[in-house]
């Protein structure tokens, strides 16, 4: 063939997938310190949740009738509640509930929403029309109202709370993913896949889904914060996780309201924990969105 073979300087360094992720993470930390702080805070939450039995000096369920409503002291750093349970221990164990419900519902919600959004965009026409109208119906309910109604119907165990938080997330995610999937559908490489006679499943899974990963990740991090907040709200309203499980929203409820003035530490610290987690996820999510948004991926 008359074509000159191009010389290839790139050939020497083809970084491994792991190496590229590490480089991307380092770049992210350098360019978006706020996002890195958020990521650090999220990592901290994970470590606390994973090592809860090691860190915590007390059993979160153990009642100490000799130390009810104890002020923060050297013995009970953040004080105790009306049953003498250590607030710090319950906060530490509560991070497990928060992360379980948060991740459970955010991942399931974002994944379902992504599948619906991409499918809706790919098939178009009537499928798209009916799916989107159904999504509009769900979207017309405020997040908390829909979750409340679902918990009321399903009953309030941890899996049901996750399900109740998941359902309102699905249409929100489907809407965003559909918008970007619509533009991907018009890309020539999707046409090429269709012209090659590939099946619908292959085109959606191999050619479209990987290319909506950026909005998917952003929706996921945004949902994480929302889901934790929603779980706390549901628990506060008595429709979330039930006593005696340690959960942040639950700690704000009941006795915490009655003793808000006499023992403010019962309400202040769980509130701070919720704010901390939501803030961390939002900080990280925002930075991630900025980092991925203007297609800054190194060309």
């Amino acid at each position: 063939m008359a074509v000159a073979r191009p010389v290839d300087p790139l050939e020497l360094e083809t970084p491994s997938a792991l190496g590229r992720w590490a480089a991307a993470a380092a770049e992210f930390c350098r360019q978006r310190p706020l996002g890195a702080i958020g990521a650090g805070a999220i990592l901290f939450l994970f470590v606390v949740a994973a090592l809860a039995p090691v860190i915590s000096a007390y059993d979160p369920l153990a009642v100490h009738f000799d130390a009810m409503l104890a002020r923060p002291s050297a013995l009970h750093w953040l004080g105790t509640d009306a049953f003498g349970r250590d607030v710090l221990a319950r906060l530490i164990y509560g991070s497990r509930t928060a992360l379980l419900v948060g991740f459970g519902s955010a991942i399931v919600g974002a994944a379902l929403g992504t599948i619906l959004g991409v499918g809706s965009a790919y098939f178009g026409g009537r499928v798209d029309l009916y799916l989107q109208r159904l999504m509009d119906v769900f979207l017309s309910f405020p997040l908390i109202v829909l979750a409340l109604a679902l918990v009321a119907i399903l009953g309030n165990s941890v899996p049901n709370v996750i399900a109740a938080i998941t359902v309102p997330m699905v249409p929100r995610c489907a809407l965003v993913i559909r918008a970007s999937a619509l533009s991907i559908r018009e890309m020539p490489y999707v046409d090429a896949a269709r012209a090659a006679g590939f099946g619908h499943a292959r085109i959606i899974l191999r050619h479209m889904l990987p290319n909506v990963m950026a909005p998917f990740l952003i929706m996921l991090t945004a949902f994480l914060g929302q889901a934790i907040l929603l779980e706390a709200s549901l628990s506060f309203l008595g429709l979330g996780v039930q006593e005696p499980t340690a959960a942040w929203g639950l700690m704000l409820r009941g006795a915490a309201v009655d003793f808000a003035e006499a023992a403010p530490w019962m309400a202040i610290f769980p509130g701070l924990a919720i704010s901390f987690a939501v803030f961390a996820f939002n900080l990280f999510g925002d930075s991630l969105r900025d980092a991925l948004d203007p297609k800054l991926r190194t060309q």
Binding site: D8, M187, P188, A195, G197
Partner: protein, 326 residues
């Protein structure tokens, strides 16, 4: 024309796009992107399809590939009407018809390596079932298009535009097609790279006996690669002839105007020759002119052009034109 059955025959192909109107999905108008186009492509030849942006040449290509569903008309590939095929048969036909796109940046999935992109059709259509042999075939295909075996591990963004276009060609070749629709395959490339890709396409045509439908707006490129050339204007073919006949003695006034717009790389000759400059703009395909669609801009139009729709007729042997004055 030889007695041999043409590879591809298009009869009266029409593609209309509805333009949505009000709130309740009423139709405000119909864009006649392709309006009654007929032509044949013989086995082993290259048919150039030229025209301005928006004249329907790309839509014609997409209809042939079944990426768009034609509004009416028949597309016969090896004598079988594509519209009558079921999914399974269509899949088999799709192997024989492939496409090379204009934009080498968006025609490759950014999340797949070059090797994966080329190997995918081999696996899906069980052209090479054995994964080990598939790797060898990918390297072989990369060689055919002038790339190196190690390019298989690259991602598209690590390649240059010309290299990507070669990957697109290798992907099409992987299906072992007989017809390749080249949709402006060099329009997005540098001039020096254009020549390389054009030469590559010609080499491959000789080597594998390929047939091309070459859609482009660059008249010089089309002249170089085509055996016959069809000129489209506003969804219709206005002239179709052998390359030499069309470039030497164009019959349709639109073709003459197009050819006169090609600059000659000799300043003295360029200054002396006659230019035909068309007035006005291409009319909207939403509301095409009556009679001959070209009459509002035609330098030689007469009253009858306003009323009569000119048929594409064989003015000279093998030279078709849609002009009542030709």
């Amino acid at each position: 024309m030889t007695a041999e059955r043409p590879l591809l025959e298009i009869r009266n192909l029409t593609k209309h796009f509805r333009v949505g109107g009000g709130l309740f999905g009423g139709t405000a108008g119909v864009v006649r992107a392709v309006d009654g186009v007929s032509f044949v492509i013989r086995r082993g030849e290259t048919l150039g399809l030229v025209g301005e942006s928006g004249c329907g040449k790309t839509t014609t290509g997409r209809c042939i590939l079944r990426l768009e569903r034609p509004t009416s008309g028949a597309i016969l590939f090896e004598g079988r009407d594509l519209a009558t095929l079921n999914d399974e048969e269509l899949r088999a036909v799709r192997r024989r018809m492939q496409v090379i796109f204009q934009d080498p940046y968006s025609s490759l999935n950014p999340r797949m390596t070059v090797g994966q992109i080329i190997a995918e059709p081999l696996a899906v259509h069980r052209i090479v079932s054995d994964p080990a042999k598939r790797g060898a075939r990918v390297r072989e295909l990369l060689g055919h298009v002038g790339l190196l075996p190690q390019h298989a591990r690259r991602y598209p963004h690590q390649l240059s535009g010309g290299q990507r276009q070669r990957v697109g060609i290798a992907r099409a070749l992987a299906m072992e097609p007989t017809l390749i629709v080249c949709d402006e395959p060099v329009s997005a490339l540098d001039v020096s790279i254009q020549a390389q890709i054009i030469n590559l396409l010609e080499d491959l045509q000789r080597e594998f006996g390929l047939t091309y439908l070459f859609v482009a707006h660059d008249l010089s490129v089309v002249r170089h690669i085509s055996d016959r050339v069809a000129v489209m204007y506003l969804g219709k073919i206005v002239e179709l002839a052998d390359r030499k006949a069309l470039y030497d003695e164009p019959l349709h006034p639109y073709t003459r105007a197009l050819l006169s717009a090609v600059p000659i790389p000799d300043p003295e000759l360029e200054a002396r020759r006659e230019h035909i400059v068309l007035g006005g703009e291409v009319p909207s395909p939403l509301n095409p002119p009556s009679g001959c669609v070209f009459h509002p801009r035609c330098p030689i139009a007469i009253d009858r052009c306003r009323a009569v729709i000119p048929e594409l007729r064989e003015v000279k042997p093998g030279h078709w034109a849609a002009c009542i004055l030709a």
